[in-house]
């Protein structure tokens, strides 16, 4: 436990505590709309963190991460709808499926030396393959969609994840916090160091005895497994799944906006990125709505512009810059 907070300046710990408090108390002060926005923010913070493990820690660019969300979502949803299995058990199947898929992609890519742009395209191709495949997968509704029975919102059932938004908020909050802690643990342990070495210079890493194939596989598998949990949440929160949406490349891109804008490879990057992106875009939509404009596509243009600005002006992301400004940069021991 001590090792987790070693190196963090005191004011950082205070800030973190304040943030946690705010997040826990959130639902009491937020209205329904704000609550759903917060859930979206946490969702993107979580998936961003999961993607970050592969990219920010191990340096492998995946542009098809939606496949893990989709596999997780469909696995848990199918088990619930067809066999009445609760999502907490269906979680195991979801993770197993995503891990298998990730292992396949990783194995194909790393054994055959597929890296950089080729790797990114391989991940896109796999996601597209899944999208088209599930469009024809009748057992889970194919292209017409797969639906979960919607229950009475007044009654919260944590076991089957049927309930009102507040329940979902806390589930997502716990997931995000857990992801956070997991990533911190990973970063500070041997695997985290090895990942950074691989990310920086794979050949040099190998000369230091690091089995780069194995550690890249770990990154892919952990990232895939984590992401699939978000898929389970997605299925039970939205209650409908369409391959066209769930596996679409736009989902993959949305997932990576947070960590890129917040800061790839950093712990807080995905969270800050998610807050900024969703917060600002919702504000913008509110403004447009107030002006009587309904502009589909405006949000995505906004995302694109944010991405452009960050990549050009603050390539490390907003969080490292912010941390320096606030004097929160981690001191080395």
């Amino acid at each position: 436990m001590r090792r987790l907070i070693e190196g963090v300046p005191p004011r950082g710990l205070v800030g973190l505590a304040a943030l946690c408090l705010a997040l826990i108390v959130g639902p009491w002060v937020a209205n329904d709309y704000l609550l759903t926005v917060l859930i979206v923010i946490l969702y993107f913070a979580y998936t961003g963190q999961a993607w970050n493990v592969m990219m920010g820690f191990a340096g492998q660019l995946s542009l098809g991460h939606a496949i893990y969300v989709g596999l997780g979502a469909y696995a848990a949803a199918a088990l619930y709808v067809h066999f009445g299995i609760a999502p907490w058990i269906g979680l195991a199947a979801a993770i197993a499926l995503a891990v298998a898929c990730g292992a396949l992609i990783g194995f194909l890519a790393f054994r055959f030396g597929v890296a950089g742009v080729y790797f990114a395209i391989l991940t896109i191709a796999f996601a597209e393959f899944a999208r088209i495949g599930f469009d024809h997968f009748g057992w889970v509704g194919a292209s017409s969609g797969f639906f979960l029975p919607v229950a009475n919102y007044a009654h919260n059932d944590l076991w089957t994840l049927r309930g009102n938004p507040t329940m979902f908020y806390y589930v997502m909050l716990v997931l995000t916090a857990a992801a956070f802690v997991l990533c911190r643990i990973l970063l500070k342990s041997r695997i985290g160091y090895y990942w950074q070495a691989i990310r920086e210079d794979e050949a040099a890493a190998r000369s230091l005895g690091i089995d780069t194939f194995r550690y890249k596989m770990y990154a892919v598998i952990i990232s895939a497994g984590m992401t699939s949990v978000a898929g389970v949440f997605f299925a039970f929160y939205y209650n409908n799944l369409f391959p066209e949406q769930v596996f679409h490349i736009s989902r993959s891109i949305e997932m990576i906006l947070g960590p890129i804008i917040g800061g790839i490879g950093t712990l807080f990057g995905p969270l800050i990125g998610a807050f900024l992106l969703t917060g600002l875009s919702e504000t913008m939509l509110e403004l447009l709505g107030a002006l009587g404009l309904d502009v589909p596509g405006a949000k995505q243009v906004f995302y694109g512009i944010c991405l452009l600005l960050v990549v050009i002006v603050l390539p490390e992301g907003v969080w490292p810059w912010l941390a320096r400004k606030l004097g929160l940069a981690e001191k080395q021991s």
Binding site: F112, Y118, A125, G297, P315
Partner: protein, 290 residues
């Protein structure tokens, strides 16, 4: 199924594949010289497609005729994009480049969505329903014209790179960056020119594709992926490879659409892509990267 159907479908796929090839050619040229992975390639093509549609609807101008002006507009767009935004990213890490172009692509798709809406559009020319017959072969007139136009454009491009001073300078850039610098070539200008040429290819291909498919803004990312599949299959950096890849993919899609369900046809392209990535990553005609 009678053999004629296979033949007709194959020929149609081949001709469509030629246009795909032209589109992919642009990507190959850009990557081969500027070494930038243009993740906004398909999106740039949709700009051309909507431009063609707008001109047709407003002024009744045939996209085939407008091919050159539209290519010209895209050339300027590509040149400006490279010179203005992309150039500083040439020496940045790969993932920075991708993300820059993903962002540009994202903006293009959604600006088009805002401007034209999500509904499919197409262009119906006077000869849209004509066809040529040669024995058992029945081919759409449109596809024949498009195929012929593509071949002409491709020949012009090859000639440019082979014989024109500027074309040779660009190839020099690609083969030996430092050497080109030493000899005094203005690399930045050549890069911008090359990107412009790549964009022009896509402009020409786009104005021809509107005659063959229904256009929506979402087509952009789909064609970007297709362009990459073609270029990787045919060989990144190889111009003939891009054409070969295009024809191959066009054929595969057409035949797969016939033999299986039409919506599953791209699965075969992906299958082909995975095989190429694993077993022959330099593509059919490509050379192993130095």
């Amino acid at each position: 199924m009678p053999a004629e159907i296979y033949l007709n479908v194959a020929v149609a796929g081949l001709l469509t594949g030629l246009v795909y090839g032209l589109m992919a050619l642009g990507l190959s040229v850009i990557f081969g010289v500027v070494r930038v992975v243009n993740f906004a390639h398909g999106e740039m093509m949709t700009i051309a497609m909507y431009l063609a549609i707008a001109l047709f609807n407003a002024l009744g101008l045939d996209p085939l005729v407008m091919m050159l002006p539209i290519a010209g507009v895209l050339f300027v767009f590509g040149y400006a994009l490279q010179a203005g935004i992309i150039n500083p990213f040439i020496n940045r890490p790969e993932h920075s480049q991708f993300i820059l172009l993903v962002a540009i692509g994202l903006i293009i798709v959604n600006v088009l969505l805002i401007a034209f809406g999500p509904d499919a559009r197409n262009v119906q020319t006077s000869y849209a329903f004509d066809s040529f017959m040669a024995g058992p072969l029945i081919v759409d007139a449109t596809k024949v014209y498009v195929g012929a136009a593509t071949i002409l454009v491709t020949i012009a491009l090859f000639a440019f790179f082979r014989f024109a001073a500027l074309g040779k300078a660009i190839r020099a850039c690609a083969d030996n960056y430092t050497g080109a610098l030493v000899v005094g070539l203005d690399i930045n200008r050549l890069y911008a020119l090359t990107f412009g040429i790549g964009a022009a290819c896509v402009g020409a291909a786009g104005s021809m594709l509107v005659l063959l498919v229904d256009v929506t803004p979402a087509l952009g990312p789909a064609y970007t992926l297709l362009a990459f599949i073609i270029v990787i299959t045919g060989g990144l950096g190889s111009m003939p490879g891009a054409l070969l890849g295009g024809v191959l993919i066009g054929l595969t899609e057409a035949l797969a659409g016939l033999l299986f369900t039409p919506s599953a046809k791209s699965m075969f392209s992906f299958g082909l892509l995975v095989l190429v990535l694993l077993f022959r990553p330099q593509g059919i005609l490509g050379r192993r990267a130095a």
